[in-house]
């Protein structure tokens, strides 16, 4: 079942086309990777999907409804969660409070002035932290976490909105190799269990070919290949773009 479908997405920055007519779809429970060399338009694509950028042309449909041009806040409310390339969490709060805040926001309970937030949505927050393996760190300040833990916290916060689609921008950047595969295995599990559609960009080709159900290859703002790992590996244009560097060697 298709969760999100992009149709002819276009974006131009000061006359320079960054994304040119990109179309794709991602289904529930599917992990779709978006790869391409630096400057291929991956992040631009991403930012158009969650509303940080308004597309110059094309449509983004979530469950059939066009969401192109809506601001991030509304896109989130419609069921798209996201993690950022440079992690963004609330550093004056503990790990649990970060997730509690996400839950309170999701349930529209922010405009409450009396009961202490600390005692609210604790069970749900702990369940989410358990899912991402952060239970032991619930009381720590988000500002002092290691990078890999911040990524997992972001994942828990994105899940707090009970999304249908998860956007992950470079989810494993800056992590140690062992941590990387653990995080992606976790994501895989969540995608299957929650029937969550996952769209992610990634530079580590081992991760991409190891975990993605399908791969999109972007080059100069255009989609040049699409398919499962073996299809993309065998694709002549992909080999050309990556200069025959051996598609599984890591890096790009």
């Amino acid at each position: 079942m298709t969760v999100l479908a992009a149709d002819g997405l276009q974006k131009t920055f000061r006359g320079v086309p960054a994304v040119r007519g990109v179309s794709f779809a991602v289904a529930a429970g599917e992990m779709l990777a978006l790869i391409g060399p630096n400057g291929a338009g991956k992040s631009t694509c991403f930012n158009m999907l969650n509303g940080q950028l308004r597309p110059d042309g094309g449509r983004v449909r979530l469950d059939g409804k066009n969401i192109a041009g809506l601001p991030p806040r509304q896109v989130c409310r419609l069921g798209i969660g996201r993690t950022f390339q440079i992690t963004a969490t609330f550093s004056s709060m503990t790990v649990r409070e970060n997730v509690q805040t996400a839950l309170l926001s999701h349930h529209r309970e922010i405009f409450r002035f009396w009961r202490a937030a600390r005692d609210q949505r604790v069970v749900e927050a702990d369940a989410l932290l358990h899912q991402v393996g952060m239970s032991t760190q619930a009381e720590r300040a988000a500002g002092v976490l290691a990078y890999g833990d911040l990524k997992r916290l972001e994942l828990a916060m994105a899940l707090a909105g009970n999304p249908r689609l998860l956007l992950m921008d470079e989810p494993t950047a800056g992590m140690a190799p062992a941590e990387r595969s653990a995080l992606m295995a976790l994501t895989r599990k969540l995608a299957t269990e929650r029937q969550l559609a996952v769209l992610f960009t990634e530079h580590d080709m081992d991760i991409v070919f190891g975990v993605a159900d399908r791969i999109l290859v972007l080059h100069h703002g255009e989609l040049i290949a699409e398919g499962d790992a073996s299809t993309v590996r065998a694709d002549a244009r992909v080999r050309e773009v990556y200069l025959g560097s051996g598609a599984t060697s890591g890096g790009h």
């Binding site: 409310r77 996201r82 509690q100 309970e109 202490a116 916060m157 909105g161």
Partner: protein
């Protein structure tokens, strides 16, 4: 130039200007009264101020470059206070006019009008200084470094440039120019003790309108505002004070970074806000004890101490309301007195003009301030940092100007008198209990909101607006609500102040009063929830004891502020919290 390079919001720049005027008065008195002697005297003044500026930079500012903007402001305001007393000690309290020699009184005929020749000289001096600065910045290696540091200070440091020399020299140049300004303006006015604050507000406004760090922007803005003021006097004589700040407000709404300014380089030294935790049990016990003492106070202390305590309660709510938006809300305000004043005038006018009963008049205070804050907040919450602080300052000055100039309604400088509470609260003791209940209650309610989901939403919007929006949080609405709440609470404090003193004056809305609130919050510690309570009590106590004990209260208070900033950069409550946690760990 100083802000562009060092990023310090230097309140004491006005003091340098004032000292410039005084030094020029002294120096010119010893020189021949011809144009050559005048030129020598002005140049010597600029030089003296450059040296003083370098000394100030080395002694104080160098130590606070990494401190939060508002602490820098606080420290430099401490310098303002000290300089006022020092200047008074050296030159006395009277205004000192310069005896204008004959050549200075000459006129030129321009289009059939007699035009003072000295004013022509002043008109020429602006572009001349701008030209020299431009050459200095664009034709020398030093200038290249200054421009580089303005756009990316950390990169310049990474390239191995000695920042200390660069910063000291920039500060010396800026101070010298301030001295030059003070000296050149002396013949058209006097050297007096009010120069510092009057000139610093104009300077802040001009720099913000022009765009922080943009020299040509500052010149453009100063010409624009100068012309508007000159013609404003003719067209709307009553609105001169308003015009300047209305221009700034309009500019910031349309161009949030000023006319020629650009969004600043993202600082890589971004501060990580500390974790907020519930108060430890010991603090709750101490707070309970303090509250019990405060309730019993009228039975224990005399009338003077009671009046100080009433004032402290009002200050407490005033400070707590500022802290609410500034600490957890991340919206620093230089003009918080606006809401206090709106509340005070609201309550006073409701009583005297409308004849409203006491409870209604008291309710009118937070209602008026809150409603205006909600409307004005629509513009404010889009800005951040210094620009936000400046827009709030501009608004406070507009309110002040209305209070001061619209004398038909507000009584102008004479204020509104006979705003007394009814019989039931006429006894200072009962009024104190009322103030205690409303102010402590209000402050505790604000504190409660900070621990409730709203406070988390507010801190989330401050910590990371990007993430907050991505979890569906309406950051704009949360910030607006916090702004309006803070305004309403400050308004209530103002309303109580009106009834406590029985009168309302424009000083309630003055910059000095806004600074009082800032001082209390920063003294207590911005990043602690109990900070404003501690800060308000300490500040009011310090203020009222000093005022009684010494003629040099500004010098002592200023020195105390500077010392506190250097010793406790995270405020009193912040330092106590650190010590407590260190002990526990």
């Amino acid at each position: 130039m100083i802000f562009g390079v060092t990023r310090v919001v230097n309140f004491s720049h006005g003091s340098l200007y004032m000292i410039g005027a005084y030094v020029a008065w002294t120096v010119l008195g010893h020189l021949p009264r011809d144009p050559f002697g005048f030129a020598i005297g002005v140049a010597a003044t600029a030089l003296v101020l450059a040296v003083l500026g370098a000394a100030l930079e080395i002694a104080l500012l160098r130590r606070i470059y990494r401190a939060p903007e508002l602490l820098q402001l606080l420290a430099t305001f401490g310098v303002v206070l000290m300089v006022q007393d020092i200047a008074q000690a050296i030159w006395g309290a009277d205004d000192l006019p310069l005896a204008r020699p004959h050549w200075m009184r000459a006129f030129v005929m321009l289009g059939g009008e007699r035009f003072p020749a000295y004013d022509l000289l002043l008109i020429a001096a602006g572009p001349l200084v701008l030209g020299v600065l431009w050459l200095l910045l664009h034709r020398t290696r030093w200038g290249t470094l200054v421009r580089a540091a303005t756009s990316d200070r950390e990169m310049v440091a990474a390239l191995g440039v000695d920042q200390r020399i660069l910063f000291t020299s920039v500060f010396a140049l800026g101070a010298g120019l301030a001295g030059l300004g003070g000296a050149l303006a002396l013949p058209d006015g006097t050297a007096n003790l009010q120069l510092d604050l009057s000139v610093i507000t104009d300077a802040f406004v001009i720099v913000v309108v022009g765009g922080l760090g943009s020299l040509s922007g500052a010149y453009l803005a100063s010409v624009l505002i100068g012309i508007l003021q000159a013609f404003g006097v003719v067209v709307l004589p009553k609105a001169t004070l308003i015009i300047v700040f209305a221009v700034m407000a309009a500019t910031l709404v349309v161009r949030p970074y000023g006319l020629l300014g650009r969004p600043g380089a993202v600082s890589r030294e971004a501060e990580v806000p500390p974790l907020v935790q519930p108060a430890p049990a010991a603090l709750r016990w101490a707070a309970g004890l303090l509250l019990a003492l405060l309730i019993l106070a009228p039975l224990l202390v005399g009338p003077f101490a009671l009046s100080v305590l009433t004032e402290a309660m009002i200050a407490l709510l005033f400070a707590a309301s500022l802290h609410f938006m500034m600490g957890p809300g991340g919206m620093p305000s230089f003009g918080h007195a606006a809401w206090f004043g709106l509340g005070a005038y609201g309550a006073a006018l409701a009583t005297t003009v409308l004849g409203a009963p006491f409870p209604v008049a008291l309710l009118a205070a937070p209602a008026a301030a809150g409603a205006v804050a909600a409307a004005f907040g629509l513009f404010v919450v889009r800005l951040s940092g210094v620009y936000l602080a400046m827009l709030t300052l501009a608004f406070a000055q507009i309110v002040w100007a209305i209070a001061f100039q619209w004398s038909g309604i507000t009584g102008g400088d004479n204020g509104i008198l006979s705003v007394w509470p009814p019989e039931a609260f006429a006894d200072p003791r009962t009024f104190y209990w009322l103030a205690l209940a409303l102010c402590m209650g209000g402050a505790l309610l604000l504190r409660r909101a900070l621990y409730a989901p709203f406070g988390y939403g507010l801190r989330a919007s401050r910590d990371s607006a990007l993430r907050a929006e991505a979890i569906g949080l309406a950051t704009g609405r949360v910030r607006l609500a916090a702004f309006a709440l803070a305004g309403a609470a400050a308004g209530l404090a103002g309303g109580l102040a009106a009834f406590s003193k029985g009168s309302v004056f424009p000083t309630y809305v003055s910059i000095g009063h806004s600074v009082d609130a800032l001082l209390m919050v920063l003294l207590g510690g911005v990043q602690t929830i109990s900070g404003p309570i501690v800060g308000a009590l300490v500040y009011t106590g310090l203020y009222d004891t000093l005022l009684q004990a010494t003629d040099w209260w500004r010098l002592v208070l200023g020195a105390a502020i500077v010392a506190l900033v250097l010793a406790f950069p995270e405020g009193i409550a912040g330092a106590a919290q650190r010590a407590w946690r260190g002990r526990a760990a």
